[in-house]
């Protein structure tokens, strides 16, 4: 068969146009590379736009004692020391400069009295550290990066989905995809590719993530032979909306607690006293999520199965000024005035600590020519991410990935792509139209979400995880036989059929890694192995494709140099 497709050539192709992708594009442009950015949605709609609370950076504008060392220590402790220490160090050192840069490109953060960028408290951060704009920091960040990118001349391919990486021997040579609008095929030839595709939350039923979060980048990288790491560490944000049903899972920013919000159970008890009396509501997300979950499971939950989160003790004007979108969200979607009464909240699948395994300095993956940054990459956050460390991650490692990808492109000759790969990729896309009477992708997706929610959730055990793997096998088989109605013109059923493949791959990687790790650490809690196990504290789980099947192996956590080891151990 001869496949019809259009072709575009770039030095650096970036997949994903959230904070990491756009910052990578700017980094690569700086090096004079010809840069293309592909995104599944319209420009400016990526998940970064939903980030609310702020960007963590030790600027010391509010608490003058803050410095990169403290930020580094908080990040390592939050990640239960499973982090790649060098990434955590680079992140803490470079984040302030990356924030200043945003300001110089036009971003307008909330201000201190003396005219500097204001910083707020957040869970797990020793000092007030989050640079923010009310509760819409992500929007400010993405607009700033997007305007800068458009001005400097990146080519943006909007509403375009990549379904396969194309290779030349052992290296990445391009990507195959389709235009969501017209359904036509497209081939991007590139010397370097940066994965900035975000997370995987859409494999769970209750999630704060949008439809885009289907793990595409991780699945594409895995299929092409790159290593994934830390896939068992899925963050459940403690506070998602729980009522009404249609809004279940929508994020309630941690900034509510950062600004003084208090958690209570149905009998009015401030239950965090039991779980983390020192940090209370500003404990790390894994701890707070488990606390709420436990309160509900033990019968102390609210009417709709959550906890109360109350900020109404603060003046109404202050709440509306600092948390405007929360105010509107609850007022419009749940008929609750948060300046007068409490919100009902419960855990929601929010963030993936694991992802493509990368080099700390350059963000390069184990596959030549492939780089990854942001949520799609693993390493910085270890077993649990601190709030606010995501936006700074996007900026710091987005930039580094862009710079390194451009440098790689500079010294790499153009690759050749054999048409066989392209034909095969096209064939795979078209098969669902040819099958008749197959199952709808929507029912398979719904069942996948049930499996992951019920069996691979906040608390896990061996039996559930084995059952989940069995379910996933059946779901994969059903996905191989699904069929799609209608034409190739903007067809969401067809689009979901593609996204489903990626979700099944990452779900399997999560489940296998979770089954292997027989301990509880950070976001990974095994009921059958409740404590920290020091031997597991020195190992990362790595997932790689071997002979068409998923293989798992252990890899030693890079050891901290002695000065940093001492810093992390200091009692503060």
């Amino acid at each position: 068969m001869t496949t019809e497709y259009e072709t575009h050539d770039h030095d650096v192709l970036i997949i994903g146009a959230g904070g990491a992708g756009l910052r990578a594009a700017l980094g690569a442009l700086e090096q004079g590379a010809k840069v293309g950015v592909v995104c599944k949605s319209l420009l400016g709609k990526a998940h970064t736009v939903m980030a609310e609370g702020g960007i963590a950076a030790a600027m010391a504008n509010v608490d003058s004692a803050d410095d990169w060392r403290t930020h580094f220590r908080d990040t390592m402790r939050g990640g239960k020391l499973l982090n790649n220490w060098r990434m955590a160090q680079i992140h803490a050192q470079e984040a302030p400069e990356r924030v200043r840069e945003l300001e110089q490109w036009g971003a307008l953060f909330d201000r201190t009295h003396d005219g500097q960028i204001l910083q707020r408290a957040f869970g797990g951060h020793t000092f007030r550290r989050l640079c923010h704009v009310g509760d819409r920091t992500g929007l400010e960040m993405i607009r700033t990066l997007q305007d800068r990118g458009v001005q400097l001349g990146i080519d943006v391919y909007m509403e375009c989905t990549i379904t396969r990486l194309l290779k030349d021997g052992d290296r990445v040579a391009g990507a195959f995809g389709y235009w969501r609008e017209q359904g036509r095929f497209v081939v991007f030839r590139a010397k370097s590719i940066v994965m900035a595709t975000g997370g995987i939350g859409k494999a769970w039923k209750i999630t704060s993530n949008s439809w885009e979060y289907t793990g595409d980048g991780m699945a594409l990288a895995y299929d092409a032979g790159a290593e994934l790491m830390d896939m068992e560490f899925v963050q459940f944000h403690p506070t998602g909306m729980v009522w009404p049903p249609g809004v279940q899972g929508i994020l309630v920013t941690e900034a509510v607690r950062g600004e003084g919000g208090v958690l209570r159970n149905k009998s009015g008890q401030r239950f965090m006293e039991k779980y983390d009396p020192k940090k209370m509501e500003l404990s790390t997300r894994d701890v707070v999520a488990r606390a709420i979950y436990t309160e509900v499971r033990e019968g102390r939950g609210t009417e709709h199965g959550g906890a109360y989160l109350d900020i109404s003790q603060k003046p109404a004007d202050y709440v509306k000024k600092k948390l405007p979108s929360m105010y509107h969200q609850f007022k419009e979607l749940a008929d609750v005035d948060i300046t007068k009464g409490p919100m009902e909240v419960g855990p929601t699948c929010h963030y993936m600590m694991g992802g493509i395994r990368v080099d700390a300095e350059t963000a390069k993956s184990s596959l030549a020519g492939l780089f990854a940054a942001g949520e799609a990459a693993a390493g910085l956050h270890g077993a649990n991410r601190l709030g606010g460390n995501s936006l700074s991650d996007l900026l710091v490692f987005g930039r580094r990935a862009g710079l390194a990808a451009a440098e790689h492109a500079n010294k790499t000759p153009t690759a050749s792509i054999d048409s066989g790969q392209i034909d095969e990729a096209a064939r795979e896309m078209l098969v669902p139209f040819e099958r008749k009477e197959g199952e709808s992708p929507y029912t398979i997706h719904r069942d996948l979400q049930e499996t992951m929610q019920n069996l691979v959730g906040i608390f896990r055990n061996k039996e559930d995880l084995i059952r989940a793997l069995e379910d996933l096998e059946k779901l994969k088989e059903r996905a191989r036989r699904l069929s799609v109605d209608g034409s190739r013109l903007f067809n969401p059923g067809w689009h979901l059929a593609q996204d489903l493949k990626a979700m099944l791959t990452v779900s399997e990687a999560v489940t296998r890694s979770a089954l292997a790790r027989e301990e509880s650490r950070g976001a990974h809690s095994r009921i059958d192995h409740p404590g920290l196990d020091p031997t597991w504290g020195t190992k990362n789980n790595v997932i790689v494709r071997e002979g068409g099947a998923m293989a798992l192996r252990e890899s030693p956590v890079p050891e901290l140099p002695s000065d940093l080891k001492q810093l992390v151990a200091e009692e503060k």
């Binding site: 949605s41 319209l42 420009l43 709609k45 990526a46 998940h47 736009v49 939903m50 300001e103 110089q104 490109w105 036009g106 307008l108 909330d110 201000r111 003396d114 005219g115 500097q116 704009v133 009310g134 819409r136 929007l139 400010e140 607009r143 305007d147 800068r148 458009v150 001005q151 909007m158 609008e181 949008s210 439809w211 885009e212 009522w243 009404p244 049903p245 249609g246 809004v247 929508i250 979108s325 509107h328 969200q329 419009e332 979607l333 749940a334 709808s440 992708p441 929507y442 029912t443 719904r446 799609v484 109605d485 034409s487 013109l489 903007f490 067809n491 969401p492 059923g493 067809w494 979901l496």
Partner: protein, 243 residues
């Protein structure tokens, strides 16, 4: 279980018509939930744009019972259920399929606007009272509902000569940025055609972010254009100086 009847536009560039769907109602349900229900159970190829489902991304704009809305923020219990709920694509933009329209024109307009340009030697200090009014404009989520209702675009189709409320908001954010040094009044007058706006405030009414588009962005910008180009005293001065 209570049901709602939906009449959703199905079609493409060549034309189309409403199709009828029955959807069970759940507490707190929004129109986007109903569209998702239709996709999952009745019409898997129903084209809808959406992302966050939380009113933050501005993707799911459509016209519900003739009113331009974000479908993720339109509660079913705020709509009369004794007659069908109509859902139409935004009228001011060409239909691609069903509820998805071609909004690429907006991105082309955006590209023309000169970006933020700080004064040389800027000291990066700003005070909250100076950034407050700009932060209002920066709340824009680019849902393009303001563009959709603006009669200059919707009825008169002046896309070649007019930027529309969204981009007046963007220019206002740049012009009023405490540290910006560039003037965009010439472009407001010539390229973005701000004079064509006759401040009927339709844009302000539909803004889901409640930005006071007309009062806080468009009118002050119009004043700047008038001051610069139509002030009789300045015009006289310029004439005398031969400028």
């Amino acid at each position: 279980m209570a049901e709602a009847i939906f009449e959703v536009f199905r079609g493409n560039r060549e034309g189309g018509q409403p199709a009828t769907y029955r959807v069970p109602i759940a507490p707190g349900m929004v129109v986007l939930d109903a569209l998702h229900h239709i996709q999952a159970h009745q019409a898997p190829d129903l084209a809808v744009r959406w992302n966050c489902k939380a009113g933050k991304c501005g993707s799911c704009s459509a016209e519900v019972n003739g009113r331009p809305r974000l479908t993720c923020k339109t509660r079913m219990d705020a709509l009369p259920l004794d007659k069908p709920i109509t859902v139409q694509p935004m009228k001011a933009f060409p239909v691609i399929k069903d509820l998805v329209t071609d909004v690429s024109w907006n991105y082309r307009v955006n590209k023309k606007i000169p970006p933020f340009e700080p004064r040389p030697g800027t000291e990066w200090k700003m005070y909250q009272e100076d950034v407050d009014r700009v932060q209002e404009f920066r709340k824009c989520i680019e849902c393009f509902l303001c563009q959709n209702v603006c009669h200059v675009l919707r009825e008169h189709e002046e896309k070649e000569h007019f930027g529309g409320p969204r981009f007046f908001v963007r220019v206002a954010a740049l012009e009023m940025h405490p540290l910006d040094s560039k003037s965009r009044t010439q472009m407001l007058k010539d390229d973005l055609g701000i004079g064509l706006c006759n401040i009927t405030k339709c844009c302000t009414e539909v803004c889901p972010e409640e930005i006071h588009i007309t009062d806080n962005a468009i009118i002050p910008l119009k004043e700047r254009v008038v001051d610069e180009f139509y002030d009789p005293v300045l015009m006289l001065v310029r004439k005398i100086r031969g400028a």
